[in-house]
């Protein structure tokens, strides 16, 4: 693309570094900002810079937090002996939305993925093992996505915990509520038959 302005070109180039945003979309977004009041761009620019510079992660669970210990970990009504292991903060938000979980989280920050150069050392696995070693965790729920990377990470964590006194569980896989059986893939349907639950007991919380 041939820009008539170096400033415009810079902004478009930086914007198009974001995932899923190509040069054309970046140009559309930047031109939109130019048509809006200057204050909008200033607020966007400031909020991104401030987030990146001042962001904190909870010392306990590695969730994003403005305080040293996040609201969830600081809540005395939540069960700290029940820990749910997730990939990132979006999973925390998704599970929190269900209001079905009253334990703590442990945010790994990703999955083991040799293809992307992410090894166990790049994730918060060591602090998880430390936490378990202290003996304060009763149950660890693995809630990673069921991809090859997720399975690898699950297995790695499981191996690290061998011999430790902790119950390791994983979230139930099965047909989604409201889904038709005939359209389900065979792996999911197979698992949901294998891991069938007593009738009417399915809504019992752990």
């Amino acid at each position: 693309m041939d820009f008539s302005s170096k400033l415009l070109e810079n902004a478009v180039n930086e914007m198009s570094q974001l995932p899923g945003i190509g040069k054309r979309t970046a140009l559309r977004l930047v031109l939109h900002l130019l048509r809006q009041p200057e204050s909008q761009t200033v607020r966007l620019s400031h909020s991104l810079k401030q987030l990146r510079e001042e962001i904190n992660f909870c010392k306990n669970c590695h969730n994003i937090s403005d305080t040293e210990i996040c609201e969830i970990c600081a809540n005395p009504n939540r069960d700290e002996a029940l820990v749910c292991v997730v990939e990132d903060i979006r999973d925390v938000m998704a599970i929190e939305n269900t209001s079905q979980f009253q334990g703590h989280y442990h945010v790994l920050g990703g999955k083991i993925s040799p293809m992307d150069g992410i090894g166990p050392g790049d994730l918060h696995i060591d602090t998880l093992v430390e936490k378990i070693k202290k003996g304060s965790v009763r149950e660890l729920i693995l809630a990673l996505s069921s991809t090859m990377e997720g399975d690898t990470t699950n297995f790695y964590i499981f191996k690290q915990l061998e011999g430790k006194e902790v119950l390791v569980t994983t979230i139930a896989r099965g047909i989604a509520v409201g889904d038709e059986l005939e359209y389900a893939d065979e792996v999911t349907l197979g698992r949901s038959i294998l891991h069938r639950v007593p009738f009417e007991g399915s809504l019992k919380s752990s």
Copy 2:
């Protein structure tokens, strides 16, 4: 969405002000920035702010430019008596990419659209009329999009120029090069038959 951090919430809210970017996408983009080196966010933030604060528009054609007169208007090899009227800078970039036009541009900054509250006074139509009044323009090419708003704007400009000594033309509409006739809509096909050109004369530049 329930954010654990006010900083994160601010950034996501500002990001989701952009067109076509919802809260979920905004969260994905912002979390991506958090995983990248801090310098990337600083550069993005700075380039947007700088663009918005220091942006200049060419005094002659209203194109985005870092200088008072844009490169196109300042180029002595281009024909200033031939002016192409476009909606915004993206159209200038598109036409420049064809290398088929050696005249000047006039960027309106939009189309007349009562639905969006955009009247003739919000566009750079007065400066266009001024330019024509001076008598230095031989031909005016209307290259707005062929929507109702585009047609309205074309007609408004045409009316403003009544009695002035200037040839007003519009870009050719027809079947795109490489397109199959059977899939073309009837309006386009009809126009391309009405405005047929002599064989082999179609590549002649104006």
